[in-house]
Amino acid sequence: MILFKDLKVKIDDKMIINNFNLEVSPGELHVIMGPNGSGKSTLAYTIAGHPKYSIESGEIIYKKELINDMSPEERSGNGIFLSLQYPISIPGVKNIYFLKSAINSLRKFQGKDEIDTIDFLKLVRGLLPLVGLDESFLHRSVNDGFSGGEKKRNEILQMLVLKPDLSILDETDSGLDIDALKIIAEGIKNYRNEKRSFILITHHHRILDSLKPDRVHILIDGEIVLSGGAELANKLEKEGYGWLRKKDLND
């Protein structure tokens, strides 16, 4: 699905991602954990194509195509989705309008006609319970005045509407209470299949209990320092990252 080769990423002249290598195959769910500031969100934004993050060297190959210079809207059109760690509020744009513009743009990209309004409403109404939001959220401005948890649910709603092949979920589980976490985890779980891939950035093993990741990677200073199975997440949450500092590992 996606392959990173020796990726280096800079923000303003500061190198944030160093020699990042990873391959995620169709159907796999990979987890990235790491201390604050280690570059997890930078990686997520880079995959989605945020113009602030510039690729210094290396390659991102998605569905066998080099996408280093692909625009964000084209990446999205091709099935890449990023659930933001801090979703943006857009006062003055109704959520329903946002969702409809998104799905119609995607369909246009795919060479399909615009979705029928009734079908669209049916689709969205069917998805709302899966993320635990009620219909009033459709008629509010995008994320405006939403609580942290509601914003995250809204991100997952967008994922379910756009049906991406590769979903990058950046701390989508942070700041959720246990019930909300269950709902979101369930939503992701149901969305998983053998064709869809996930890169899940998290600090907590709890969401992994039900999601059964294929691999867990630890990112420190923009580099994967250790990879393993789900048990790694448990260890990290208990023991922190201290034992992993690059220096110690090298010794």
């Binding site: 989605a48 194509g49 945020h50 113009p51 602030k52 625009s71 964000p72 809207e73 990446r75 999205s76 059109g77 989705f81 990023l82 933001l84 979703p87 943006i88 857009i90 006062p91 003055g92 744009v93 309008y97 946002f98 513009s101 998104a102 799905i103 743009s105 995607l106 990209f109 401005s141 967008q158 756009l162």
Partner: protein, 395 residues
């Protein structure tokens, strides 16, 4: 009586003239054209009046400064007269209530030269729910002609009215010196939506508002890239517990010049005023905003805000913004602010990352910026929402 007023105004116009750019308040707007124009006094018949009328409202057309409905009429709760020699002393007293003694050359010129005026009053305790739709149109004006439309609206105690004013130029140029006064008695409430579509004209508006106890004003002005547009908005809060909410939306394009000047005068306490001006400028459009909240020393518990946000959509557009406070009382809550910038890059990315194309994403964000004002005012009747959308899509 009316001659008296006009003669006096002629005299003061001769003394004052139009303000020039040496005066601080007029340093950005050149008024030469207005001084050079000759008052329009031809008689071009107007045939196309029907196309501007709106159903289920009271339609009044002011055409090249004359009120077209050539009969005065009165329906329950509402009096509309146009001002000519038949004017009674009583209504004349009202008419000249706000600006007679104003030392302002622009106002003096209108007062000296207006040939007709629209006078609307709402009877006390009357909820006048039918929208009053005023179409102010200039047509066939020559480049060196000027017209002087004039409106006076009076709300008696505890009355309500909703007024739409649409200004059009029928593709003719020339100048307009427009004066309107809104007098709000105790506990009255008025909503005004003003739409200036006279793109080819040079116009100066003088809008005067006066509020007595417990009165409320909601006002929205929208303009679409006028050749030259200067608007002076003056609000005198002369009563306690008043409320007002003013919105100004400026859409500037080509080489348009839009200059808003606002004075929000809290002369008595316990009142709330909100003024928000938002501009979006593209091409080589220029915008200016000067606003001042003025709180008198005995106006305690005033709650006033004055904000100006500007979106520059091209490298050659520009905005000068200067919101100010002059507060002479400690016990008040006043806020003012100004921002000028481009579209927010993170919001833009968010939309792009949801498949939305660059141009559509930009349009969505520009519209969202305008929605802050449009959502606060009910302006469906003039299709302002659609007009703003069309402007954004450059239709």
């Amino acid at each position: 009586m009316i001659n008296n007023i006009q003669n006096k105004a002629k005299q003061s116009f001769i003394e004052l003239g139009y303000p020039d750019r040496k005066s601080e308040d007029w340093k950005y707007t050149n008024t030469d054209k207005f001084s050079q124009c000759i008052p329009y006094n031809r008689d071009i018949p107007f045939n196309d009046s029907d196309s501007f009328l709106i159903d289920d409202s009271i339609n009044i057309i002011i055409y090249n400064g004359s009120v077209l409905n050539n009969h005065n009429y009165k329906i329950d709760g509402l009096t509309i007269i146009h001002l000519d020699e038949s004017l009674s002393k009583e209504s004349l007293k009202n008419f000249s209530k706000i600006v007679t003694n104003n030392k302002n050359g622009v106002v003096a010129h209108n007062t000296a030269e207006f040939t007709d005026a629209l006078h609307i009053s709402i009877d006390k305790n009357f909820d006048f729910n039918i929208p009053i739709n005023i179409i102010e149109i200039s047509s066939g004006l020559r480049d060196n002609e000027i017209v002087f439309p004039r409106i006076y609206v009076h709300l008696e105690n505890s009355s309500y009215a909703k007024i739409f004013i649409r200004k059009l130029d029928d593709n003719s140029c020339g100048c307009t010196n427009f004066l309107s006064e809104f007098y709000c008695e105790d506990s009255s409430s008025i909503e005004i939506v003003y739409l200036n579509e006279a793109k080819n004209q040079k116009s100066i508006d003088s809008l005067y508002f006066e509020q007595e106890d417990n009165s409320q004003i909601k006002f929205l002005s929208t303009s679409f890239g006028n050749d030259l547009y200067r608007s002076n908005i003056n609000v005198d809060i002369n009563g306690n517990n008043c409320f007002n909410d003013f919105g100004v939306l400026i859409l500037g394009d080509r080489k348009s010049h839009t200059d808003f000047h606002v004075n929000m005068n809290h002369n008595k306490g316990n009142s709330v005023s909100n003024f928000l001006c938002r501009s979006m400028l593209r091409d080589r459009a220029k915008g200016y905003f000067n606003g001042k909240i003025f709180v008198k020393e005995y106006a305690s518990l005033t709650d006033a805000s004055l904000n100006n946000n500007n979106l520059l959509l091209s490298n050659d557009s520009s905005m000068q913004s200067n919101p100010q406070l002059e507060i002479n009382n400690e016990d008040v809550k006043c806020a003012h602010g100004s921002t000028t910038g481009n579209l927010d890059q993170d919001s833009l990315f968010y939309l792009l990352s949801r498949s939305i194309t660059q141009s559509q994403a930009e349009q969505i964000l520009i519209k969202a910026f305008a929605n802050k004002l449009l959502d606060m005012h009910n302006c469906k009747l003039l299709s302002i929402d659609q007009k703003v959308q069309n402007w954004i899509e450059q239709k």
